[in-house]
Assembly symmetry: C2
């Protein structure tokens, strides 16, 4: 048996113990994990300093350095996040439905943990703690495979969290950090179909495609968020401007940021000059189609622009003659993530909802609400744009599945004792 298989099997076995913990014990464990991080602040920040130094030596860019960097305040934030997960309702054991069948058997649907989850991620050390907390709270074991840039930070954080598990009497293999970062080891992990119940890759599109293409275990992922805002004829222009500002400017690197603005021709002359002024004042580059550029006087938009997740202060703009044309555009170029309609027409809103299969549809609300916390899930382990198991932001519940528990009084289906 390979080393990674041995690790994964130990994690799966430990997961059985986690699955049976009471809510109270899980919450106490999460509190203890938060406290352990604070107690080990010095060691964790020292390990992080090693990662930062190595990253600098490799000439890694400032955005990535920032994602990698920890300080006392950020570590306290990570600990707080663990306490927030402790405060969330426990999905495990929840009876979602109950029915008494005509023969008297009582059929319940009950939430149970998925089992063992492999998180594959890049340079953010906070994912080590966040993902562990969510997986454990939902009764699962978790195997964590982070990026090499954060290996010292992740090792220190995992050591701290594992101590909290041991002190709580939980087998610490339930939280396993993979320290062997060779690509072939990750590939082997992703083939362990009898051990790993789900792999969740988080990071750039390259990593996610790599995991999706090589895994034999189930994978939940999203590649990119090409989110659209459609401004309907007769829309409230102030609302459309507010949603555009928040959607494009508040965090352009987020997957729920806007990438394309579609504007009905009937409102273009009123809306687009104001939109252009607002965007330019915030440093946003506009790329418009011919009709939009009558008002924008911007760079012409290309086919590639319509399919792009810019992750930057750039937006593609197109004028359409109808709601149908907007829907057709989104169907062609969209990524099934999040779409916004700004409208005062209920029927148009309903048609927009019914005609699009994206994970999240916003009517007169910002695309930036497409987030587990904002939508009421409490926390987010990832976002799925695959229409299986979970679609859109995934919280604790997405780390469980419903099964059947049936209680009878000796009922049989076909045969009876003579």
């Amino acid at each position: 048996m390979s080393d990674i298989e041995t690790l994964a099997l130990a994690c799966r076995d430990a997961a059985q113990a986690v699955a049976q913990l009471t809510t109270q014990r899980k919450n106490a464990l999460l509190e203890a994990m938060a406290q352990a991080l604070l107690d080990d602040e010095q060691a964790i920040l020292a390990a992080n300093a090693q990662d930062i130094e190595a990253a600098r030596a490799k000439g890694i860019g400032s955005a990535m350095l920032d994602r990698l960097r920890l300080d006392a305040k950020r570590l306290a934030g990570i600990a707080d996040a663990l306490r927030e997960v402790a405060a969330l309702p426990d999905p495990v054991g929840l009876v979602t439905r109950e029915e008494t069948r005509p023969n008297g058997i009582v059929v319940q649907r009950v939430r149970v943990p998925l089992g063992m989850i492999a998180m594959i991620y890049e340079a953010r050390p906070n994912v080590t703690a966040d993902a562990a907390a969510l997986c454990l709270k939902a009764g699962n074991g978790v195997i964590l495979r982070g990026g090499s840039e954060a290996i010292h930070s992740n090792t220190a954080i995992a050591a701290s969290l594992k101590r909290a598990l041991r002190e709580a009497g939980v087998p610490d293999a339930a939280l396993t950090l993979v320290e062997d970062l060779r690509r072939e080891t990750m590939l082997e992990l992703l083939q362990l179909t009898d051990i790993v119940d789900l792999a969740i890759p988080r990071g750039g599109e390259g990593l996610i495609r790599f995991v999706a293409e090589h895994a034999r275990v189930p994978v939940i992922k999203h590649y990119k968020g090409v989110c659209h805002q459609y401004v309907d004829a007769g829309a409230d222009v102030q609302v459309a401007l507010a949603l555009l500002l928040d959607g494009k400017v508040s965090r352009p690197s987020a997957c729920n940021a806007l990438e394309t603005l579609l504007v009905h021709a009937a409102i273009a002359a009123e809306f687009l000059p104001k939109a252009a002024e607002l965007m330019r004042a915030r440093g946003v580059e506009l790329r418009g189609d011919e009709r939009a550029n009558e008002f924008l006087h911007a760079t012409p938009a290309t086919e590639d622009d319509y399919a792009a997740e810019f992750l930057d202060l750039v937006i593609a703009v197109r004028v359409v003659d109808s709601l149908d044309e907007a829907i057709a555009h989104i169907r062609k170029y969209g990524s099934d993530h999040t779409e916004v309609i700004v409208t005062r027409d209920e029927a148009n809103a309903a048609k927009f909802i019914e005609s699009l299969r994206s994970a999240v549809i916003m009517v007169n609300a910002s695309s930036r609400f497409s987030d587990g916390g904002e939508l009421g899930l409490g926390a987010e382990i990832g976002i799925s744009t695959t229409r299986l198991h979970s679609y859109g932001p995934m919280g604790l519940e997405a780390l469980t599945v419903e099964r059947f528990v049936v209680r009878g009084a000796g009922q049989t289906r076909n045969l009876k004792l003579a």
Copy 2:
């Protein structure tokens, strides 16, 4: 583009039309499909006769011939099954949860179709109609790839159903039968990750393993059902005998039939002689461990027997000293399908439920109730022993997924207009 990709793309496009049909139109369509089968009885039975003749010429066994054979009564049964699907509640559009967030946005979870489903199955021509009905009712497109033994029957049934689609104004590509049965064509279908949302293999373990091992698209499957019945100390012996009879004898070829009987030592002397008599009177071969054989005088059970899905009138029997030992046995040899406990002790029932992660747990009820119809799902598209998306028998709801629909009044997350 290959032929199968062209077919799959057309099916996916047609699925968009199905996704938007009202419940009323879908139900009328299913009624029309049922009627079309009855109207085409002559053509379908003639096609089936061709399949039967070819199967006989190939020397195919009588059990498979029976699964393949259609007659007027069986065809009427298939048509009735379509009408039953029409009568089931429509999961599409169902608002499962609604919450108003502190900022006033209203967040709904709404069921939407999965999209396009590939059914891969063997010689049962009824699957062609059943699977099509369930997929369409849940708003999906379906691509059907049946076994070569049933190709004439399947072609005739699909032609009939497609006519009903066309007459209802639904693009008939929404129901697509693959007539090119080369294995490489199936493999290609299973790689179409951007087109096929889910593959469901139904048939023998060989077919299912082949699909699971070669698919890049998501697969929901179960390999086998090694179902256990544990008779606790102090159990009602009459109940234990009734559940054993129904579980083992009523349909031994079903995946929810019993394969292993675990008996607490404290009840073995009372229960096992009666169980042996009952089983032998029904022609069931017993294979016992040493302690069971004090009462059974049967063939010794091997390790292989404990892991086997006999699909026949054979049962393995083992005496255990405790509930814990029964749980450990099931964890070691089980297939996560269905387990039964016969007990009068609530605490033991609760421990059995919590300690096992099988898809269905029965307390004092027959394993044979582990079936979509019996559990209240109305009909069954398959059974999942993979803890993702759906776990246990899958009905219409398992052919949908929840997404988010959010309604606001211009709320933004981080930025406001000046």
